[in-house]
Symmetry: C2
Subunit: 416 residues, 2 copies
C-alpha cells in the first residue's frame, strides 16, 4: 500500500480542537487507501515554556538534560493524536523517536539522523494502524535522547518519508504554502506552486522560515517529494521537488528573501598567507557560529581584509571567537556592524538567463537603497543593506521580478 | 560507597523553587558521602492535567497511549531536577524508565516491575553523578511504555533501592511521616516512629494514603528500609521496616484508618456449591475490581449469601461483572448499598494480646455507631459502618487505643 507521511506543526496540534481537525486530515488519507505515518511537533508554545522552565533552574542547562526535557513535548502530541484517531474508530499507535530507533549522532540539541527502524513502523502499518512518530527527536548509541534543533520535526518527517519510501511528505502549516517572499512585508506575494530543492534550500538559509533547511537537504538527497500545505483548507500547496520537475515553466527568479537581524564583522589587515582564513573559520565553527557570507579582498601584497556576516544572535560568540584568533592571524583591527540586513533573490533560472543581477541592482538603486556587500551563489544574489532600508529593498526587488504575478505572466529574460 | 534513594512526590517538585529545595536535600546526602539516586514524580497537578487533555480527545483513551502520554510528566521533572543540580555544581544525569531498562510486564496503567539495569546506574554513580530516574514508568519487552499506576513513583523508588542495595529509601512528602490516623479527622493523631511492612500494608490498603501498597510489598520482599519524611524540614519521619525492628516497643495498635467511599454488594441465595465463589471473584478480577472484604454465610443446606465491599469508584464495574455471572451461580437477588465506610485498627500486637476486638466494639457502641459488617485479618479488625457515622467511629476508636499518645504512654493489654 502506498505510504504518505503527514507532518503537523505546533500550531496545528495546539489544542484538542486542532488535533481533532488534524486527525481528519489523516483519516481522509486513510480513506483514500494510503498507509499514513504522522509526525507531530510539540503543542503550541510548549517547547518555549519548557525552555523557560529550564532556564528558571539553570541559565545554561546541560544540553543532554535539555534534550531529555524538550523531547517530552512531541511525545505528548503524538499520544494525544493517537487518542483522537482511536476516538474516530481508527487504530493508531504513537512512538517516541527512541521507540522506532531514530538513531542520531550524539550532538545534543543539533543532532543528525543516521538511521530509522522502518520495519517496526511497517509492521504497524501492515496491521492497519496509523503510526504516529514524535518529531524533533532521536536517540544516540547510548540511548540518550538527542534533538534535531528547532524545526527538527520537518527533518523527522522527511527522514521517515525516505525510510518508508513514501509517495509524498505533506508538511502542514498555517499558510497555503511557500510564497515568493514574506507577505508580511510584500503583501502581493504569491504562492509558489513548485520549487526545486536547491531553490528552497537557498530560500530557507536566506531567512524564509517555512521549512527547516536540513529537511530540504534530506529531501533532495533521498528524492522525497515534499508538499507544504495549509492544515486549515484543501488547497494545493507548494511542491518541493527535483529541478527537472520544478523547472517545467522556466521560472527565472522563484523567490526573494530578507534576513533582518544580521551583523557584519570585519578583520582588517590580516596577514595574507595560506591557512589564515581556515584558522578564522574553524574557530567560528568550533564556537558553532553559522557564517552567512564571506568576502575577502587583498590590501597590498601581504595583507587582506576579511569580512563575514552572521545572525545577530551569533554575534557575541563570533566576536569572542575572533578575539581568540586575531593575534594568530596578525589582524590589525576588527570592526563590527550589527545594523544590517540581507536581501536575496533566488532562482535556478539564473544559471541560464542574462540580466538578473543588473535588474536587481538597478531596482535597488531606483529605490534609493545603498548596497553594502554583494555575494552570489549559482542560484542566488544577495545584497547586504542597512537594516533601515531592508523592507524597502525587498519590495523593490519583488516588483522588479514580478513576484506578485503568476509564473506565466512574468517578464522573460534572454537565455544564455 | 553507600547508596541512598530519595523520592520526591509531585508537590515537592511542583515549581522551580521547590525543585531547588529538593536539590538541596540531595546535595546534603552527597556531602555526607552517599551516592544518591533520585526518583521524582510529575510536577504538581501535571498528571491530572494530562489526563484531562486526553479525555478531551477521547473519553476512553487507549491505555497504551495514556501511558505514553503520562510518562512525560516524570521525565520533565527529572531532567529539570538534573539541571538544578548542575546549577549548584553537581554532576547529574536523568533517565526515563526505559533508559535504565526498568522492565515491567505489559499491563498498561498498572504494570509491575520485573527487573532494572542496575549496572547502568552504578556506572553513572561511580562517575560521581547523581542519578535521577523518572518515577511511575517502565517499558515492556516490546519497548512500549508502561506505567505503574497512581503513586507508582514510590514503587519505582523502592525497586531502585532494592536493585542498588541502598542503605535507605527516603520518601519525601509534605507531612512529617505516617500518623496513627488521618489528622484531618482526628486532630490529635501522632506520628508513628517505626512501623512494620505488614502494618503499613494494612494501613495503605485500608485507606491511609501515605504510600502506594505495592511499594511496601516490594520493600518487605526486598527488605528495603523506607523512611517517609517531610521535604520541608529535617525531622525524623516514619521508618517502615521489618517486624523485628518495628516491634521493639510492643505496640498493640499502631494505627487506625477510615475508608469513606465504599459500597457493598450482596448476592442473595447463591447456589452453595464448589466453584461458585471462584466464579464470582474471577469475574470481578477480570473487570479489575479491587474487592476489599468478602463475607459468606450459609442460608440453609444448599444456599449461601455472598457479600463483598468495593471502593465506590469500582461499583459500576463490579455491578456489571455480577450481572454477567449471577445466572451461572444461581443467585436469586442482588442488593447494592453504596453509603458505607470502613473503620479499621491495625497492629501486629493483636497477634499476641487479648481484648483488642472487644475494646473496639465497645468504643463504637458507646459512640452510638451501629456495626454493619466485621472482618478481621491477623493484624487488623475492620468494621463497616454507615458513611454518616464514619468519622465519629474513627475518633472513638482512636481515643480508645490512645492513638493521640506516644507509644510508651498507651494503655497495656494482657499478653496471650
Amino acid at each position: 500500500m502506498a505510504i504518505v507521511v503527514q507532518k503537523f506543526g505546533g500550531t496545528s496540534v495546539a489544542n484538542a480542537e486542532k488535533i481533532k481537525r488534524a486527525a481528519q486530515r489523516v483519516i481522509q488519507r486513510v480513506k483514500e487507501g494510503y498507509s499514513v505515518v504522522v509526525v507531530a511537533s510539540a503543542r503550541g508554545q510548549q517547547t518555549d515554556e519548557l525552555i523557560a522552565d529550564a532556564h528558571e533552574l539553570n541559565p545554561e542547562p546541560p544540553e543532554r538534560e535539555l534534550d531529555q526535557l524538550l523531547s517530552t513535548g512531541e511525545i505528548q502530541s503524538v499520544s494525544l493524536f493517537a487518542m483522537a484517531l482511536h476516538a474516530e474508530g481508527h487504530n493508531a499507535i504513537s512512538f517516541s523517536g527512541g521507540q522506532i530507533r531514530m538513531m542520531t549522532d550524539g550532538v545534543h540539541t543539533k543532532a543528525r539522523i543516521k538511521s530509522i527502524d522502518a520495519s517496526r513502523i511497517q509492521k504497524e502499518l501492515d496491521a492497519g494502524k496509523v503510526v504516529l512518530v514524535a518529531g524533533f527527536q532521536g536517540i544516540d548509541d547510548d540511548g540518550n535522547i538527542t534533538t534535531l534543533g528547532r524545526g527538527g520535526s520537518d527533518t523527522s518527517a522527511v527522514a521517515l518519508a525516505a525510510a518508508m519510501k513514501a509517495e509524498e511528505c505533506e508538511i502542514f502549516t498555517d499558510v497555503d504554502g511557500v510564497y515568493t517572499t514574506d507577505p508580511r512585508i510584500f503583501k502581493d506575494a504569491v504562492k509558489i506552486d513548485k520549487i526545486s530543492y536547491d531553490e528552497m534550500l537557498e530560500m530557507a538559509s536566506m531567512g524564509a522560515g517555512v521549512m527547516h533547511s536540513r529537511s530540504i537537504e534530506l529531501g533532495k538527497k533521498c528524492d522525497v517529494r515534499i508538499h507544504v500545505r495549509n492544515s486549515g483548507n484543501e488547497n494545493k500547496g507548494t511542491i518541493i521537488t527535483s529541478e527537472e520537475e520544478a523547472q517545467m515553466e522556466e521560472v527565472v527568479v522563484s523567490g526573494a528573501t530578507i534576513q533582518k537581524d544580521m551583523a557584519k564583522i570585519g578583520l582588517v589587515n590580516v596577514d595574507h598567507k595560506p591557512g589564515n582564513a581556515a584558522r578564522v573559520f574553524s574557530k567560528l565553527a568550533e564556537a558553532r557560529v553559522l557564517v552567512n557570507d564571506i568576502i575577502q579582498t587583498e590590501v597590498g601584497p601581504k595583507k587582506a581584509n576579511l569580512t563575514f556576516t552572521v545572525g545577530s544572535s551569533d554575534l557575541k560568540a563570533a566576536k569572542k571567537a575572533i578575539d581568540d584568533v586575531r593575534d594568530t592571524v596578525g589582524c590589525e583591527d576588527i570592526f563590527v556592524h550589527d545594523n544590517i540586513a540581507e536581501v536575496s533573490i533566488i532562482g535556478v533560472g539564473m544559471r541560464s538567463h542574462y540580466g538578473i543581477a543588473e535588474k536587481m541592482f538597478t531596482s535597488l538603486f531606483k529605490a534609493g537603497v545603498n548596497i553594502d556587500l554583494i555575494t552570489t551563489s549559482e542560484i542566488r544574489i544577495s545584497c547586504v543593506v542597512e537594516k533601515k532600508d531592508a523592507e524597502r529593498a525587498l519590495i523593490a526587488v519583488c516588483k522588479a521580478f514580478d513576484l506578485d504575478k503568476p509564473v506565466g505572466k512574468r517578464k522573460k529574460y534572454p537565455r544564455k
